[in-house]
Amino acid sequence: MNPPASPEIGSQLITLMAALMLVLQLLLAVQPMLFTSVRLYAVQSLFLAGIAGVVAFFDHAGDVYVVAALTVIGKVIFLPWLLNRQLRHIKITQEIEPLLNPTATMMVCGGLVLLGYLVARPFTSLERLGNNTLAVAITLVLTGFFLMINRRKAISQVLALLTVENGVMLAAIALTTYGMPLVVEFGIFFDVLVAVMILGILIYRIRETFSSMDTSKLDQLKG
């Protein structure tokens, strides 16, 4: 690519994709079908990878390509596959009654978005690419967190956790010049993979012993 495209385009791209990530997050928050959720997550991760790619392209940062690649392999392909397999295995498709109904959920998420922007405001000046990517990142973290509270199925909680992690990665890309040092990226990447596998194992065992994966049934340990 001999003519280096102007940063404006890049930053607009990034802003766009970040916004889409947020939208996907909100969708994820309100819709109950588990398979859809997994797909939504995969797409969200794809946008994350896209952002990483754009950054790498415009900053000529080789490392960040690696990040993008890892994201695609791990979060767009492997993890969704794993989760789908799980879902098929345990034949549960629906998230039944979350704690809050969709309307309330949306309102809470709106509040969280607001908070995210407030927290991120002091740093918008520091961002090079696209404004308020950081705000989106923090919002992802907060909404993901809220999603964990709001969901009862073990798997959807795992998904929520993964979106939180997406948010963190987005923040990393948004804030730092060339992403985190590679060794750290690898570390994080493998940790996440292992974490999901272990969670898979646990979900499996829980399903075996409780013949259900409703985490609100896990309340034997008190006091």
């Binding site: 908070l115 407030l118 927290v119 907060l142 009862r152 896990l218 309340d219 008190k222």
Partner: protein, 684 residues
Amino acid sequence: MDNFFIPAFLLNLGLSGYAAGAVAGLLLLRFEKLANIFSFGLAAFASVCGVIACVTALATGATAQSQTFELLPSLVPYLQFTVRLDSLGAFFGLIVSLLGMVISIYSLGYARGFYGRKNVGVFAAFFNLLLLSTTLVFLAGNAFFFLIAWEIMALTAYCLISFEHEKEETRNAGVLFFIMSHIGTGCLILGFLLLFQASGNYSFDGFHLLGNAMSPGKRDAAFLLFLAGFGVKAGIVPLHIWLPAAHSVAPSNVSSIMSGVVIKAGIYGMTRVFFDFLGSPPEWWGVTVLAIGTISAVLGVLYALMEHDLKRLLAYHSIENIGIILMGLGASLMFLHSGHQMLASLALIAGLYHTINHAVFKGLLFLGAGAVLHATHTRNMEEMGGLAKRMRWTALFFLVGAVAISALPPLNGFISEWLTYQSLLQGFGTTTSLVRLMFPISGAMLALTGALAAACFVKAFGITFLAQPRSEHAKNAHEASFTMLLSQGILTAACVFLGLFPTVFLKLFDPLTQQFTGQQLSAQLSAANGLVLSNATAQGGTVSMLGLALLGLSLLAVPFVLWLLFAMRAKTRRGPTWDCGQRGLTPQMEYTATGFSKPIRMIFKALFRPHREVQREYDFSPYFATTVRFESHVEEVFQTRIYRPLNRLVLGVSRRLRALQAGSIQAYLIYIFITLLLLLIFAL
């Protein structure tokens, strides 16, 4: 320093002796006889060393100014293992060593009762550790070290109290003791921290008269903290709640050492802090201490009268006597405030003299009670009786102890209470403020206490040792073993000596009063070259137990002469007690302990609020009952009004809080989420 060499050496010997005793006890776990002999033997040896050390130190004036040496090197900041022998430490060291010696001898016999049943080795080890830590409490020269010794003392005491842990009563008593004592320690830590803040280190030398340099507020706070902290250990009302329970369930030799020595640690602490550290006292300190002393004395003896459990009865008397001791200390503080050094020393001596007296006769009484338990396997006086015939020596020793604790001449109890009376009476003139009414009033209360104590011990001795045995156990009672009798004999001798020759003993107080009030009183207190105890005023007011004793003996001539004149030919024969004609007087007809104290229970009904329950079964008229069941018991007002509600409150609140950990992961996530949001907003 050379006149300090011998005490220092002996002290080290003694301390290591205790340690060795503890180790021996643990090493010989499996061989109980050897453990018994070696461990208690070493304890006895160590305490003999202690006695000699302290007496020489006090006599040779090695304690004129405090002497210190390091026991161990220390590694943590602020902590030094300083052993510091000054007059006060030596005096209390004398008490612990004396009692330790006697009770170790006693235990040689007493511990046989545990053979095959309990682990004598462990018991002996804890016993040694208790003596060791208590000695260190009196000799510690560094607050940090003091607290360590203090806590170890509490810990070992706890283990010994709950040694016979098979009974739930024992376990609860142990827990109550330990919790109260730990709360007390909390107060002490805070108090010492206040001093520490002022002086910057924990050395007792640095604390000397520190209070004068502190702000009044902190000084008063420290006073109250120490009063509460040491008060718990000493068992002042209303912090005494643990004492009757603990002393009654512990093995008797432990009760004896607890009541004789361990609660005295509280007295030691108060004397040390009030007279040595906190500097010139404001008036209300003395007034408070005197008031608390008076209240403790009266309430202690009143509750003692309501008991028919021999050891609980004795325990309540410990509260009473602590009260009497505090009367002396309180008066002394008031005199220090009004600048009457001479009277201050008199009152201080009165208090401390009563301290050692109480140690001696209460130790003796508990040992006696132990012998009785050993023989009858019960603490309930209603099941005793007639033991004077079966346990002659024990009865004699117990009687001496009873006379002594009832403050009757010619024994030691009377001497110290006489000194207390004297200081209270002379106190009236020291001030013109209304406060001086405190003195005669507490004097009158002291009189009431004395009379009630006499009543109580007529009951204790009479019901336990006299008349017919009230149970099979009592009927088959046997005399205690030799070592148990020997130890009681020693303490009996001590009672007599401290009663007959106070002026000899008073010399030991000179360095002490010199240190705290700058006065030496023993010369003024003795008249007629030491035969007579004087109240150190020109107007006279003297007493001589020796003289009275001799007088009494010589007056025996009167009955003798009369016997010669008239009764030579009179014969004596045994007959049945008058039984109003229906033949055969059974033990059931005897006056019971409960019955004996009934009039007093009625008089002080307002305080005791006795629970009384009578069930009559009758055929045609309630006046001809076929069976009558009578139940009556007195529960302490502090127990019912303060401690139980408090306990309920705390546990109730805690149970409510358990709901936080309800088990739902969503709830837990919410906790974290809210924390996060709050922090983010806080950071904005």
